[in-house]
Structures are given as structure tokens and as C-alpha cells.
């Protein structure tokens, strides 16, 4: 019995080392970002907002934040507008090749991102489509599509098709049924897909690094370039902003998942 008790503490003991290793790198940027501009220490010797002032005083920094937010919003809209009808069609028809198309939509998950980044660069560079906001939006939409298809697909599988049949018998048109019967029931799945799409676009570096130029630089690309030259303290403020946004969205996702389970 004594052994049993010891091993009871052994597993959580080792587990906590890993928990700390998981937790600390994601959270330590927050206190550091409130330190002085000359040093990166933990805990900070003085608590100031200097690094945030530095961030918002430099248009290259906040400009790329605006650019990233803009792209992420557009990516969310594009993936939802393209993904929801497609997921619905895949569920409610048996088109030949439908399965292949559904599998293809999962493809971006399985291919190393750097390969896609190179392909997009080679494909779009010679015809002058790089360094354009819409190119980044569509490339990010391709990367986010699998996540939207999975979230919406899961919601669709819970959807009872007899509601649609009843509405049809009652004389409603198919467009009307889609908007009045189907969409309201998919709300949680669509919201989860939208959060995924936004976050994936906001954090994406490699594709954006390959296909953006100085005019379209996103925040992660600017951050990556900055990190390659020098580790400047202002990056702590950038990191905190990104982390807070990511965490807010992640909590939103978990809340949606929980709600889904209770409904």
C-alpha cells in the first residue's frame, strides 16, 4: 500500500513539471510587457506602460496589427460564406466526387505549410498577385477551411433532416428553409468555425511571410522579421496583445463547446 501512495504522488509530480513548461512560455510575456523599455526581467523592476506606448507610437507596428485584424475578419467571412453552404451540400446530396471534394477540403491540414507557402509564392509571384491583401485573405481562407468544415460538419450531423422535409411539405422554398430552418440550428458550429478561422489567420506566419511585401505585412510577419534581428522588449507588448486576443477567442470556443454539450 505504501508503494501505491507514493506512485499516487509521482505521476502528478512529473505532470506538474510539464504543466509548468506548457504554461510559463505562454504567460510570462504578460508581466514582462509591463516592465521598463531597457530590460527584460521577471518580475519587472518597475511597472510601466512604456512598451505599449512604444508600440502605438510606431506606425510600422500598429499598422501591421490593423492589417492583421482586417485580414482575419475577411478570412472569417470568406471561410464561413464558402464553407457553410459547401458543408451543407456535402451532407445533403450524394454527388459523385462529393467525398473526394470533402477530403480535399481537409488537405491543407495534411500538407506542411511551408510547401503550400512555396507553391503560392511560385504560382502567384510571376503573375503579380503577391503583396496584395486579398491574396493573403484567400490563402489564409484555404488554411482555415478544414477547421470550419469540421466544426460546421459536426453541427450538421446533429441536425435532423426531417425539419427540412416538414418545411418543404409546408411549402417553404429551399433558400428560405436554408436561412430560416438550417442556419439557426447551426449557430454554435458556425460560431466555433468563425473563431477558429479568425485565430488561424491572426497567428499565421509562414504563408504570409512568403507572399506579403512591405505594403501588406501582417503583425506576425513584422514580429518574425524583428525577432530575427534583435530581441527588442517592445515584442513583449506585441506578444501580450496577441496572447490576450488568442485566449479570449479560445475561451469563447471552449464555452461554445460546453454549451453545445449541454444543449
Amino acid at each position: 500500500m505504501s508503494f501505491s501512495r507514493r506512485s499516487n504522488r509521482l505521476v502528478p509530480g512529473i505532470a506538474w513539471v510539464t504543466y509548468l513548461f506548457l504554461l510559463v512560455p505562454s504567460l510570462i510575456v504578460i508581466p514582462i510587457s509591463f516592465g521598463g523599455p531597457g530590460e527584460m526581467t521577471f518580475p519587472p523592476r518597475v511597472w510601466t506602460l512604456d512598451l505599449y506606448r512604444q508600440f502605438f507610437a510606431d506606425p510600422a507596428w500598429w499598422g501591421s496589427l490593423i492589417q492583421s485584424l482586417q485580414i482575419a475578419v475577411l478570412v472569417t467571412l470568406v471561410t464561413i460564406i464558402l464553407g457553410v453552404p459547401a458543408a451543407y451540400a456535402l451532407q445533403r446530396t450524394n454527388l459523385p466526387g462529393g467525398k473526394i471534394l470533402g477530403g480535399l477540403a481537409m488537405g491543407p491540414l495534411l500538407v506542411p505549410v511551408v510547401v503550400l507557402a512555396l507553391g503560392l509564392y511560385l504560382q502567384l509571384g510571376p503573375i503579380g498577385l503577391v503583396d496584395s491583401t486579398w491574396t493573403v485573405v484567400l490563402a489564409h481562407s484555404m488554411l482555415a477551411l478544414p477547421f470550419v468544415m469540421v466544426s460546421v460538419g459536426a453541427a450538421l450531423r446533429h441536425l435532423d433532416p426531417s425539419y427540412e422535409q416538414v418545411a418543404l411539405i409546408m411549402g417553404a422554398g429551399k433558400t428560405r428553409i436554408f436561412f430560416k430552418v438550417v442556419l439557426p440550428q447551426l449557430r454554435a458550429g458556425i460560431a466555433a468555425g468563425a473563431l477558429f478561422a479568425f485565430l488561424i489567420s491572426l497567428d499565421e506566419v509562414i504563408v504570409a511571410y512568403f507572399i506579403t511585401g512591405t505594403d501588406t505585412q501582417t503583425l506576425p510577419v513584422k514580429m518574425y522579421s524583428a525577432l530575427r534581428w534583435e530581441v527588442s522588449p517592445v515584442i513583449a507588448a506585441v506578444s501580450t496583445i496577441l496572447t490576450v486576443v488568442s485566449l479570449t477567442f479560445a475561451i469563447g470556443l471552449m464555452w461554445l463547446e460546453r454549451k453545445d454539450r449541454h444543449d
Partner: protein
């Protein structure tokens, strides 16, 4: 449900699928085809790029580095992740949530934020070296970043959520009665772990290892920011040939090799897990 007539007719279905298919065609299929094409075409069909790869010492060195770092990071993630999965599986479901949040936190944090944090933590004058100096009263500067240790730690941090969730899913499907029966028969906790829990969790371990290794070999940011000059991986070499030497066929040939290796790994994962592995990756 499947025996009811399809609710949407063929044309409506096609119309709804068309925009997504167009996006995939232009931004996924075409770039992949272009990469493969570019690797064998320069003013006509040629295998020059592949011949160059075969004889390039740099490429073989990078390939070796890629496999060495990916392998080590995967093993470290397995050793650090298994106890966490075990811990999570033994918690009652109602108490699991806060721990799962800790596991998922790095998944939601930007890879750049984590890389920056690890530089600040592990650097020459970093937080850990400073703390060690303070405690010991000596000047301590253990090199932990901008070398292979840094690259591996950064990658392990990235891989852990995938590894843990994969192992956890196979731990949770185990029948608790097996352990109870063994306990009644007088087996010690360690014996139960060694003879029942561990062998039954092997599918999850294997899937976690395959997912981690697949993700590792394509890594770009972590080796570039946390590794040293010697720790260039395949993705970094692709970037090098694309931007520095502008040798697109060579960059494409490396991308094709990377695509092939990860394709083989994904196929193996499919064999191990069916569609479960995919679900893991999409979470």
C-alpha cells in the same frame, strides 16, 4: 437517415460547392501542382534539381538535422507528455477542465510569442540563467537557446498538446474494470501500469508519435528563431533557396521530398488511427 432521398438536387448541390471548390483549386491544388512541376521543369523537362540534391552535402546535412531534431523533440514530448495524459485520465471528468486548459494553452498561443518567451527565459542573460546566478552567487550562462537544445525545447513545447491529447484519448477508452480486477488479484499499481495501462495505450502513443514527427519535419519558425546556424531544417532550406539563391527548382525539389515524407507519415497515421488522428489534428 441515409436511406431518405437526397434533399438537395444535383444542381443546387453543385452550386453550393462550387465557390469552395474554386478556392481549393486555385489556392491549394494549383500551388501544389506548381511546386511539383517547378521541380522538374526549367526550359524543358529536367531532373537537374534532384541530381543536385543527391550530391549536395548541405542537403544531406539538413535532412539529417531535420530527422535528428524531429526525432529527439518527439521523444521528449512523449516522455514529458505521457505522465500528463496519465494524470488527466485519473482525474474525475468534472475536475479535468482546468488542467485541459493548461494543456491547450500553448496550442492557442502564437508560435512567435512562445519563441520570444523561450528566448527571454533561456537566453545568455535570460531569466533562468539570472535566477541560477542569483541562487548560486556565481555568474552562470548556460547556453540553452540559439543551439539545438533551444530548437528541441521550442518544438517540444509546440508538440505537447498533440501528444497529450492523443495518448489521453486511448487512456480514456480503457475499461477501468481491468485495473480494478488486477488490483483485487493483488497486482501492485506499478504492475497494473506496466501490464495493462501502458500496453493498451500504445495506439495513442503511436498516433501521438506519428503526429508529432509529421508536424516536426515541416517546422520552420522554431528552428529559425531558437536553433543555431547549424540547426537549419528542411523548411528553412526551402526558404533559403527561394529567397537567397533564387533557385526555385531546387527549392521545389526539397519541398517535394518534404511533401513525400510527410505523405508517408500521414498514410501511416491513417492506418494506425483511421480518422481519429485527423480529428486530433483539427482540435
Amino acid at each position: 437517415m441515409s436511406d431518405t432521398k437526397p434533399y438537395l438536387d444535383r444542381w443546387t448541390g453543385l452550386a453550393l460547392l462550387l465557390p469552395m471548390a474554386a478556392l481549393l483549386a486555385v489556392f491549394f491544388v494549383l500551388p501544389l501542382a506548381r511546386t511539383i512541376w517547378q521541380s522538374v521543369y526549367e526550359y524543358g523537362f529536367t531532373l537537374r534539381a534532384y541530381e543536385m540534391l543527391l550530391t549536395s552535402t548541405l542537403f544531406w546535412k539538413v535532412l539529417q538535422t531535420t530527422f535528428a531534431i524531429s526525432f529527439t523533440a518527439t521523444i521528449v514530448a512523449l516522455l514529458a507528455g505521457y505522465p500528463v495524459a496519465l494524470h488527466l485520465s485519473r482525474l474525475p471528468p468534472s475536475r479535468r477542465m482546468p488542467y485541459l486548459v493548461m494543456v491547450m494553452l500553448p496550442f492557442w498561443t502564437s508560435i512567435l510569442v512562445k519563441s520570444f518567451a523561450l528566448i527571454v527565459l533561456l537566453g545568455y542573460d535570460g531569466i533562468i540563467n539570472n535566477a541560477l546566478s542569483f541562487i548560486s552567487g556565481q555568474d552562470i550562462h548556460i547556453p540553452m537557446v540559439f543551439n539545438r537544445v533551444g530548437a528541441i525545447l521550442g518544438m517540444t513545447n509546440y508538440l505537447l498538446p498533440f501528444m497529450i491529447l492523443s495518448i489521453l484519448s486511448s487512456l480514456l477508452t480503457q475499461d477501468v474494470n481491468l485495473g480494478r480486477a488486477a488490483e483485487v488479484m493483488g497486482a501492485s499499481r506499478f504492475t497494473i501500469f506496466r501490464r495493462i495501462t501502458l500496453p493498451l495505450s500504445m495506439p495513442g502513443v503511436l498516433a501521438g508519435v506519428l503526429i508529432s514527427f509529421t508536424l516536426s519535419i515541416g517546422m520552420y519558425i522554431t528552428p529559425a528563431l531558437l536553433g543555431g546556424r547549424q540547426d537549419m531544417m528542411m523548411a528553412n532550406l526551402i526558404d533559403f533557396y527561394t529567397r537567397q539563391t533564387l533557385d526555385w527548382p531546387l527549392a521545389s525539389a526539397i519541398a517535394v521530398v518534404l511533401l513525400f515524407v510527410s505523405g508517408v507519415l500521414v498514410a501511416m497515421l491513417g492506418k494506425v488511427r483511421g480518422s481519429a488522428g485527423m480529428r486530433e489534428m483539427s482540435r
